[in-house]
Symmetry: D2
Subunit: 506 residues, 4 copies
């Protein structure tokens, strides 16, 4: 998962893009980057780290110009090194920089094509480099010095045809303008908005609407599936549906966990969707366990707060903040001759004994992935004196890997993979295990926007909307994730973003 932002302003945009990236920081804390354009020259700063650590005054001073794009990154599947920060760059044609959120599922084939047909060298494993070069190639084929918006939309249409998977991308085409597009299934989110200023109208695109809110931009709309928005250098907004048979099937996990609650995604309030998930979960409990003996509902901070408060309300049970989250987490250092010690959940969460002692507690989490944290939390609840510990997940069982840009473990590491809900409860040690069902989750979201027919539900159902994911793909993915995990351990001390970065700017 990543966050993207782009602004075509009427005054310097460096601070605005920086601010937008901090608002989107929850979408990726691994790396951050900004490119601006000023007088035909591009200025870039990117590095591993949080936004506040990557940009210093000296960098901001160089990021001149009224147009720019930015990116925060969470490592996605297949990225073997942690040094491939975005935006990325190619100088031919025009000079193009691009940042994207998502994952191309046919990047191996595209790499092959880029090499053999287009003779474009790729210097990273990043599928963003693939996407950038496919776009560059399609623009180059237009064979013009100055492209019209239609030329550009036409090229985006060809990108849509060639690139499978999930991608919401923002690109600066030097001498032309800022382009933003969303894949034909609209799996990853993107919105655009505007702000009127003394000097004229400014436009902004971003992964989530909160970034627009924070900067005082007014949301115009989501960028549709297979749709593109282009703001030319003169400040004019152009937009076009670039893929014929596109159908919006957005990733439902944005609502479950990824997005900020105060965002609107595809016209659905994430906050309301989560309230409804709590509601549906309450209904299910009351339906299936009418004589429950729950004394108190305790959310596991932070994401589940919204659904838990509604769940408690519907159950007519008290909700209490029984777990305190430590917001400052440090590293575990490997000393010479020592083994890596596992950071216990205890340093991230602490239980308020008062709220557990002699009570039947219902712990609520937004979802369960590996299950190891859930297990430790249940143990903490028991140590704090709980009589019974019930566990509710505001999402259905996560049983399959994600291939659309969310960094999830391989199937074999998912606690619900190949297990019934009850079995999961046993593994994590709950006295009772309650999952929201798929229908409930889908309804909870769709109520916000009934026009959305389908969602990407692949992590729950194993059905991949792009139709190109077979067991070979998933096996390779599992292999990659294992290899990259191993490699990252080996190279930790050796890596140097400043170095690798250079050559990634193609």
């Amino acid at each position: 998962m990543c966050g993207i932002v782009g602004i075509v302003g009427k005054s310097p945009v460096n601070q605005s893009i920086y601010d937008a990236l901090t608002v989107l920081q929850h979408r990726g804390q691994d790396a951050a980057g900004i490119v601006t354009t000023d007088n035909g020259r591009l200025y870039l700063r990117k590095d591993n780290g949080l936004v506040r650590d990557v940009f210093h005054t000296r960098h901001m001073r160089r990021l001149t110009g009224n147009t720019g794009i930015g990116h925060v990154r969470y490592p996605t599947a297949g990225s073997s090194t942690s040094a491939e920060a975005q935006p990325l760059y190619v100088n031919s044609p025009y000079g193009i920089t691009l940042a994207h959120n998502g994952n191309l599922t046919n990047s191996d084939q595209l790499k092959e094509e880029l090499f053999s047909t287009d003779r474009r060298h790729l210097n990273t494993n990043s599928d963003s480099e693939v996407l950038l070069n496919v776009l560059a190639h399609e623009l180059q084929l237009k064979d013009k010095n100055q492209l019209s918006p239609d030329d550009i939309f036409d090229a985006v249409g060809n990108v849509f045809k060639r690139c499978k998977g999930a991608y919401a991308a923002v690109a600066l085409i030097n001498g032309h303008g800022l382009l933003c597009f969303r894949d034909p299934h609209g799996i990853r989110p993107a919105v655009y908005g505007k702000r009127e200023t003394e000097n004229g109208i400014e436009y902004m695109v971003a992964s989530e609407s909160v970034a627009l809110d924070a900067l005082g931009y007014e949301l115009i709309d989501d960028i549709g599936a297979g749709h593109a928005v282009f703001i030319s250098d003169d400040g004019t907004l152009h937009e076009k549906q670039c893929f014929e048979n596109s159908e919006l099937t957005p990733c439902i996990f944005e609502h479950v966990y990824l997005a900020r609650p105060d965002s609107m995604i595809d016209n659905v309030s994430v906050y309301k969707a989560r309230l409804r998930m709590g509601e549906k979960l309450a209904e299910k409990i009351l339906r299936e366990w009418p004589d429950h003996d729950i004394d108190v509902v305790i959310p596991i901070p932070d994401t589940s707060l919204t659904s838990a408060v509604q769940l408690a309300h519907e159950l007519n049970v008290k909700m209490r903040h029984g777990f305190i989250k430590n917001r400052y987490i440090g590293r575990t250092f490997i000393m010479p001759g020592q083994q890596m010690r596992k950071k216990s959940v205890r340093q991230k969460l602490n239980a308020i004994e008062l709220e557990f002692r002699d009570k039947n507690v219902l712990l609520v989490d937004d979802s369960i992935v590996r299950g190891t944290t859930s297990e430790q939390i249940i143990e903490m609840a028991r140590e704090a004196g709980a009589k019974k510990v019930y566990f509710a997940s505001a999402a259905p069982p996560v049983r399959y890997p994600n291939v659309y840009g969310i960094d999830m473990p391989a199937a074999s590491e998912l606690v619900a993979h190949g297990r019934t809900e009850e079995e999961v409860g046993q593994v994590i040690g709950a006295d009772k295990m309650i999952y929201l069902d798929i229908e409930g989750m889908v309804e909870a979201v769709r109520e916000g926007n009934p026009s959305i027919k389908h969602f990407d539900l692949s992590v729950f159902t194993g059905e991949y909307i792009t139709g190109d994911i077979d067991s070979n793909y998933l096996d390779r993915l599992q292999q990659l994730r294992n290899d990259s995990a191993k490699k990252s351990k080996d190279t930790e001390e050796v890596e140097d973003a400043a170095m690798v970065m250079d050559l990634h700017n193609q």
Copy 2:
């Protein structure tokens, strides 16, 4: 406000102290430091920044040894530069390092004495350097190569006589052991605990019990007012009351805002104290405003969560997390030729419209200091569609400066200074303003430990428990705070912790 920690372990303590500091990070995000002792040699690492930024693997490797102390700092009154990280050091006698939390109110006089009588040079404005040198001088007067615990306690007794104000301090006396003491009023908190390991018993002292919890230590007790604990190098715990007429009058603001809710301070659960504050506040509302028309209670994250949930419960009104907090806040850069722009609250908080639209909302904060943030938040609530916006503070009006180590503005900047509650409400734009009263707050805390007769309530009452604060002192303080504010603006880019640090290690 600062956080301190010390461990006498049976195996290397670097990671443990680091972990404890991250747990105490809420007490100070400005600077961090660790000293360990190994084979008669001291190892120090400190710098400005968060714990996770200050310590890298190469530092941790050098921090060898089974005994050490640590510190996180929030700049306190009178500290003119931001570069005086702790622990501090003197080499004579024995080699002593010290870190402390609090503020000496007679440091000017002590500096004078140290200079003219003890001929000890102070190279910073930090009162920690004063405290360290007073301790060093008192130990030196013993004129012995090897001090007994009683010698040390005797010296601490003299420190108590000489040093006015608030201080909870931890010190490493080379060749002797680890010392921790709390001023005769016990204003700032300190606890100690132990952990049994294969290699023997380990002892730990810390500002708050959460640090002990996180590391698996068992709380033995608070360190009493005028009390000292000394763990000698052989691992034996000694303790002694070193001041005769001490009376515990702890700072009540720890319960209001400073401490983590999951801490026990002077045998009072901070969480429970806050629940009770919410309760008392509800009682006051029901008493004074029985026909209130509050539709929903909305806490301003994060501290007020605990009291707000209880307040809502007692009022029998829904509580909703209507504000979303952005956890990643960036800087505002000053570009050449630009003025500093104020970071709006809007980038820190975002309102969920659903919870405000057409409702009478009661916003709850833990306390109100300057009032400027409250004002902006009320405005946000109105923009989100609230009909009426009521504002409750879970603490009484803050009207006087703090001189015991909490970084609060001068009296003139406190919104409640010289204003009635109603007037404050008008200033911040609330339709109604409700403050918890002093009695309610005191009861809420004392209920947890009725043996506490008095609290330091100075920010609410203007009565300073140490008896040495007159208007001259407060005037000078106000001046200092203004000067230091100005100076820090001037020197921001020039400062260099690594540099100044060197000479502070005396």
Copy 3:
């Protein structure tokens, strides 16, 4: 002036390229960079600073592979920022990195062409980026996945036709091999050599033969004017004359000052050339001033040492090292409210009084550019007690700017511009001024290789061998140098190589 190196080895080349760059460090102390290729992936590290400061262990570990190129840079005319370190990169076609020494005199026109015809974006003012993109474009026109050596040489031939000026360049063409070529006049030097190892023959190219010596490579030959050498990935050496009417007219200033004395350039030993310059100078003195009263010859360290020792020998006068050079020069800092103070020559040189007191001294320098240093040195000699101070330059008067890659001031700043030799002597305060004449200098060099018909003598004669330099060009150059000087003062603290670098790697 810059230094380039390239190696196609049979084992990792990072250390070898690093070592070669330190040997070539005298050609540029401003920035350094290395690219290696390993398994189709390129690895780059470059930054401002000396070789020993730019490369740390963590960088070297990433620079894997048996083939690579390197660069040390001295800022050349027209480079307005100091951050454009080399090698530079384009990803299309193939992935090409290039480093070069020299200066393109028609880069403005080429930029125009690259933009309008080739649609290649240039993101710096560096003519290296121009050269790289011209080469990339010419290779792209071949429209093949795998180029033959002849394809490559053909493209180089087209580069020769398009690019005017001086350039010795080394390039890595990914999937193909290492290419090195020298402009049709052979103005800047380049050599190639080989080394036999257990694993096969390794090839190396470099600006000067000393780099080959230091690494144990055997010099094969200079790369001729308009000639190219290509070592394909399989380790085979190919070479070809790629420009028909090329004529070697090497820059004679390499022999005067730039090159290391222990280098062979175009089959001429620089050391011997300098000895002969001393000889010719002695002949001139004996011829024109037979009754000279010189007591001692004192070289101004370091370059003039070689000619001075021979000059003294021929004059039959003692030579003494009367000036001691301080090898560690620091900066002059600008403190707030202070003016920049000029670093006096006195901190770079110190006179041994003994060798000056009551003597007629002949100071010898390799050449005179601005004359300000000479003036101060003469003053120092007088203060050290010299009776008479004569000044000899082992090169003729420097009267015109350099446009072929040597960083020399504009004409107006050259002390000999528009002045007779005698007038120069008066300006710098010498009792007598002696310059080697042009014929003498040319003979001194040509004696080593009589087949060289002409040299680039432009700084002495104002005649530019490439035929494209008119007064417009020189005026623009003067303007640029003034602007860039001003700008660099303004931006000194703001610049950040790591940042700009990124986008320069096209």
Copy 4:
């Protein structure tokens, strides 16, 4: 070996001390530090590295004040880590910082005393910390708030009695002034001088007179053996002989190799002393080998240049700069799985074949220590075509370790230890080996100042002037050097000056 400097000025001294340190950089390239005092506050910056790398603008801006001291360091015997940069600091009494050049030979005993009697903790292995604490203790015993110059000189007298070995030290006593003293044998050099300015007279002390020259100070005198100079805060110079039976026995190696030729040490011009060494060496050759067949004299740069030019002159043989020195030496990196490769002399020196081919060459070096470099150089000479290679050392055989602050290897690693001159010649592969004899060397120096009765000649004779060096001491030293060599290998990557530094500032 180290360099020290101190200035009591009438305007800010930061730039002046910085400049002086660059002039003294040849005395130590390992670490650098400056302390200034301003308004009773001390400001320190120190770190490992060259002067130009240690001090940035932000540091210089903090180094305010008109008085300060500085230090450049070469690691001396017994210093096990490379992180103990100077000046060092103690806060009691007064606040004292000190930097020194030399080595205490009884530091183990002094450490014991400081610990058991004075209760002063030492946190490093540095004997500078010992010296500082002895001085601090002696000043403390005066038991006064304000010391008179005589009090201070009296304390220095006691330091002289307690501290054996070689030391030239500079110290800032806060609130008092700047103190400089030289051990009772005057083994290491120190000078003082003055400069008249508009604002009054400024004083400066330094290791060598070149530092005074470079800053425009006029040399007053050497600081005598057992002598001290104190410039009080009011700018008055005081001086006193503080040790009764002191006798100047300066280290003759300063003249052989350490000092800059343009320095005056104890009234002897180093340059002239070296000229005379060349003369004496010529006399010895003519005496012992009248029919020599030397064709050319070739100095090994840089130190031997001065003696070689005179040697050649007296032999009536040509001198030629046949070796070119590479002034930019890089590191050899250890790649994973690789062994450390030895950097060959070939990367530091290159032979000009012309000067060797078919000639009998006399190579001249200032001295021979391990002999390994000499051996490689002789081999290079042969490869360059020399018929015969003779080798001359302008100093006698170095056979014993140095205990007075010069970083020399243990006896067992000295090629001349236990070998005759002829045997040394065989080991290094010379066709003939010529050493200057001890008498010649002593005469060469003493001629400059006949009043110097004795020199420290210990590395040549094994007789240690301080009378306290026995075989136990030397054995321990050898052990230490081996251990420290080993340790430094282990910890290379781990060390962090910024960290250890802190605690060394006592």
